[in-house]
Symmetry: C2
Subunit: 98 residues, 2 copies
Amino acid sequence: MSIIDNINKAFDHRVRLGIMSVLVVNEYADFRKLKELLDVTDGNLASHARALEQAGYITVQKQFIGRKPNTRYMATTQGKNAFQDHIDALEALIRKNT
Amino acid sequence: MSIIDNINKAFDHRVRLGIMSVLVVNEYADFRKLKELLDVTDGNLASHARALEQAGYITVQKQFIGRKPNTRYMATTQGKNAFQDHIDALEALIRKNT
């Protein structure tokens, strides 16, 4: 049992922390909104979002709004639960020293 | 200003979180002790420790104890302060959603 065992590799990057932090308190967030909030490149956001999607933690919805394509992300229940466990593990590790 | 701006890239990996969490509450930790606590390979620990050393956040002391070589890590004041800022940033991001 290592002191970092409960830290979830799928969330172990600040962009992924940022994506999940937004999606667990919002019904959804558009690609552009997340990009703006996190101040990351399209490619960077897309690759981290894809990893979270493959882990089953978020879903992606693609649609047209008027003539414009729109990409929308939502956290899954599994994602919200796993993220809460991850936060608890981070806080347990951090609390050890504050 | 992005919501993840204050998260320090140098600490943005669970092994580095683990190393710093141990070193900010202990005067020092030996390579073997850290390896045991974090349950990581020699190479993995050494590469993350080197990155923290290059960032000026930890120092490394190499000595012989009896006939045996010993590697000892200590957090620098700069490292302790930067890590506290990192933790504050993580908690600010996380608190946004708990």
